[in-house]
C-alpha cells in the first residue's frame, strides 16, 4: 500500500510550503491545486468555481458523507456542489492508489484513512501567521494587520466548518493527527529534514 502523508494547516502557518518541501525531501508526489485542476477538467466547471465550492460551504447544514450522499430537495446548485465533492474524493483516492504522495487539505486524512496516512497539522501563533502572509504575497499588502487577522480567522473558520461537516471531527484536534507542529518563529526549510526522519522511522 502506498505511503500517504496528509497535511492540515492554518492559513499563514506555512503548511503548503512544508508539504511541498517534504515531497521533495521524500521523493513523494505532491497534490494541492492539482486536485482543483482535475475536478475542473472532469466536471467542465471553471477552476474558479470549483475553488469557491471547495472553500465556502456555509449552505450545508448537515454532515455529508462520501459515498453516502444524503439530500432531500432537488436543487441543481446543490447537486452540482455535491458532484464536486464526490469528484474530489474520487480524485484523491486515485492519487493515493497511484504512488506515495502528500496531499494538503481537502479532508484527505479522512478520505484516505484506510491507508493509515501520516497526518500532520501545521499551526502558528497569529503574529507569525501575519508575518508569513506579508512575506509571501502582494495580495494582502493593502490590508492593515487587523484586517489581515480577520482574513486569517475567516479562512480558518471556513476550513474548520468544511472539515467538520465532511468528517464529523473537530478541525485541528490533535487526536486526529500524528504530529502537530507549531511553525512560529521557525523556518520551514530547516525543519523539513527532521519531519521526514520522523515519518521514516
Amino acid at each position: 500500500m502506498n505511503k500517504i502523508i496528509t497535511i492540515g494547516r492554518e492559513f499563514g502557518s506555512g503548511g503548503r510550503e512544508l508539504g511541498r518541501r517534504l515531497s521533495e525531501e521524500l521523493g513523494f508526489a505532491y497534490y494541492d491545486q492539482e486536485i482543483i485542476h482535475e475536478i475542473a477538467k472532469r466536471t467542465s466547471l471553471s477552476e474558479q468555481y470549483v475553488n469557491a465550492v471547495v472553500e465556502q460551504q456555509s449552505f450545508f447544514s448537515f454532515p455529508i458523507h462520501i459515498g453516502r450522499s444524503f439530500y432531500i430537495a432537488s436543487d441543481p446548485a446543490f447537486e452540482q456542489k455535491q458532484a464536486v465533492y464526490q469528484e474530489q474524493s474520487r480524485i484523491i483516492m486515485e492519487m493515493a492508489a497511484k504512488s506515495d504522495c502528500i496531499i494538503v487539505g481537502r479532508c484527505a486524512d479522512y478520505i484516505l484513512k484506510e491507508y493509515q496516512p501520516f497526518r500532520i497539522f501545521v499551526y502558528a501563533d497569529m503574529e507569525s501567521k501575519i508575518k508569513r502572509c506579508r512575506e509571501k504575497g502582494q495580495e494582502d499588502e493593502n490590508l492593515s494587520d487587523k484586517e489581515l487577522k480577520q482574513k486569517i480567522h475567516s479562512i480558518d473558520k471556513k476550513r474548520a466548518r468544511y472539515y467538520e461537516m465532511y468528517t464529523g471531527n473537530e478541525w485541528g484536534d490533535k487526536l486526529n493527527f500524528d504530529l502537530c507542529i507549531n511553525t512560529s518563529h521557525r523556518t520551514i526549510k530547516e525543519i523539513v529534514p527532521a519531519i521526514a526522519k520522523l515519518i521514516n522511522e
Copy 2:
C-alpha cells in the same frame, strides 16, 4: 541562556521515557522525580507527601500565581501546600539556570517561559495508553481495561486541573506547545533521534 526542553504528557503516552531518552540523545540533564526528592529535602516533608500535594490539587478553587501568592484565610495545611509549590518553582528555576535540561511535567513550560523552552506535548489514543501501561508495570495488572481507562482519565484530569490552576492555560492545548506528538503505535526509542534533530534545527 541554557537550552530548556519541557515535556507535558498524558498518562501512559510514554512522555517520561521520551524525556529520558531525549536527554541521553542530546546530552542534557533530565529532571523528573529528582524535583520531588529535592523539595522533600528542603522542606523536611516526606517524598510521599510532596508527591500527593503535587498530584492532587482539588482543594484550590482559584488560580495560584508563582511569586504572587494570594490567599485570605490562614490555614496551616494550605500554607504548607503553597510552600511546596513555591519550593518547586524555585528548584525548577535553579535547575534551568545550572545547565541545558529536560523537565517533565510540573508546569515547567510556564515557570521557565523566559527561557523560551522547546515545549513538547506527548499524547496517544486510549488503546495505546492502556497497552503501554500494561507493558510497563505490575502495578496495574489486577485492573480490568475499564478500570485502567478510568485510572488514566482520572490522572489526566488531575494533571489538567493542576496545570490550568497554575498557568491559566488549557492543558494540552497545542497552541502552548511547539510540538505535539502522538505516540500511538510508535516506539519511543525510534522517534527520539528525529525529535532531537527537530529541536537542534
